[in-house]
Symmetry: C2
Subunit: 308 residues, 2 copies
């Protein structure tokens, strides 16, 4: 069993590769839910949805989120009714949020809801939220406090962030199955997701970081940063805001207490020595995933590192 820690877009690419290389039934995917938000009264889990749509073959590859070929009839009408429409909800995509919200209102837990939706979409991998408890990533920028979606989608990650924290995380518990999966995994992959707002919230759920430190499985991470910039999104900005160096070395330092192997870009070859000083094996690879072949190649390299 391979266990994967992930956020949305970058992680989804690698997961697509992994699911093509091994039986998806051998994958357990632990998703960040710190980006979850309630919009129009609907509970939206952007990272879970990106992962499930990817595994179901529904993802809109061009956008990296949502369902391919989706229409926006309801959203347009919501706009006419005076609602905010900065968060783009397609008609098919809305069914996921409506179904999730309906089941949550009947006191079904998020992990069960996610399992239900995955089965309905024919997904064989186990997709788990990091927690069934509400954890909300919040960003302080100037005198404003933003949720992740407000920062990322509405403000297009332009505000200068001073601080990031995970509201509710201290009292949260890992979702059923999470600790067990980490303890019994044959290998663990930390996706090239944002260390602060994707992997960070998962690690902050009490018990998860300890399980990663204690597991006998090899823990392999992939850097989301090449040089001083994220492959996509604001990881470098948020690393700096959180007091970490915006580089693969900074990420290695943030993960040093539990990571066994770190895969970085060939361009970052010069960082290898610094990473190995942290007792992490550093491996260079082509970590950009632009095509299905790229995703599968990187997945194969990670699986080989785990098997070694």
């Amino acid at each position: 069993m391979i266990v994967v820690l992930t956020g949305g877009t970058g992680g989804a690419k690698l997961i697509e590769g992994l699911a093509a290389e091994i039986d998806p039934a051998e994958l357990t995917i632990i998703c960040n839910t710190g980006d979850d938000c309630v919009l129009h009264g609907l509970h939206i889990s952007p990272d879970i949805d990106t992962i499930t749509y990817t595994l179901a073959g529904l993802i809109d590859d061009a956008k990296g989120w949502g369902i391919k070929g989706d229409t926006f009839t309801t959203l347009e009408q919501l706009g006419r009714l005076g609602a905010d429409t900065w968060f783009k909800l397609g008609d098919k995509d809305l069914a996921t949020h409506i179904r999730r919200t309906g089941l949550l209102s009947e006191r079904v837990r998020l992990s069960q809801v996610t399992g239900h939706i995955c089965r309905a979409l024919g997904i064989k991998a186990a997709v788990l939220p990091m927690s069934d408890d509400r954890v909300e990533t919040r960003l302080r920028a100037g005198d404003k406090e933003l949720t992740f979606q407000e920062y990322f989608v509405k403000e297009r990650w332009q505000p200068m962030v001073r601080k990031v924290y995970y509201a509710g995380v201290v009292k949260s518990k890992p979702a059923p199955g999470v600790l067990n999966a980490l303890g019994s995994a044959s290998g663990i992959v930390v996706c090239p997701s944002n260390p602060v707002t994707s992997i960070g919230p998962i690690l902050a759920v009490p018990g998860i970081r300890d399980a990663l430190k204690e597991t006998r499985a090899t823990v392999v991470g992939v850097s989301p940063i090449i040089g001083a910039s994220a492959i996509s999104g604001p990881a470098h900005k948020l690393m700096s805001a959180s007091g970490w160096e915006a580089s693969a070395l900074g990420v290695a330092r943030a993960y040093a207490d539990y990571l066994d192997v770190f895969v970085i870009a060939h361009e970052d070859q010069s960082l290898k020595a610094g990473i190995e000083e942290l007792n992490i094996r550093a491996v260079t690879a082509d970590i950009r995933m632009n095509s299905p072949a790229d995703k599968q190649r990187l997945a194969r390299e990670l699986l080989a590192l785990i098997r070694k």
Copy 2:
């Protein structure tokens, strides 16, 4: 100011006629909310929606509910995700329910939500829910207890109903503006809606029936029954289940304490004397409304009775 008490379909036809005959800004429409339901976590107000869609020119005339030309993309996807799909929610229609649910979750009251949606749709008439409090019409049939939508839509009004009651009505209050509208109206129209499940819940909200008895305005009703059958829907069945005769005379008896004039079908001429014994003026007319001309003609006749 003309005040109208209404349910969905039958009332909507008459309201379409009234809005064509007088300035819609002179109309205040008090809607039944006993049929409201929560489906997929969304607050649905079927009667309010039928009336607002009618006034906005959006109603699907052929079906008598929903928005014309609407698509069902989200509902189909909800079906794939294992949700019940017996209640047909179109994509544009869904925007109304999502907007309403979102605003209600922010503690905006139903009357304010309704006003907001009406303004957004360019509606000049005032549309008021009978109450901001939750009142739920429930029907006992055999050993089952059904909500109105379960009985009407899911079971196609086939179960034999033994009893109808309005859960929550005793503690409910009329929505802001309702009593004031009834007290200051120049005329009041009771639509040819189901006396048990459309007009009944409105009358049961404490204060509304007394306001109808006390108002100086002429109160004119239109029978929803011709002979022994409802013009549409299960009014005759539910009259019998509630201990009333399934006829225009039965409806007159149910409304006798506040009604001044009752408009019945020409075919029910023989019931006139019985109705007038109740101190209600009985008038025969063609009360079937199959065309816009029918709706306007009946509306003109009612307005003439009010002005007299």
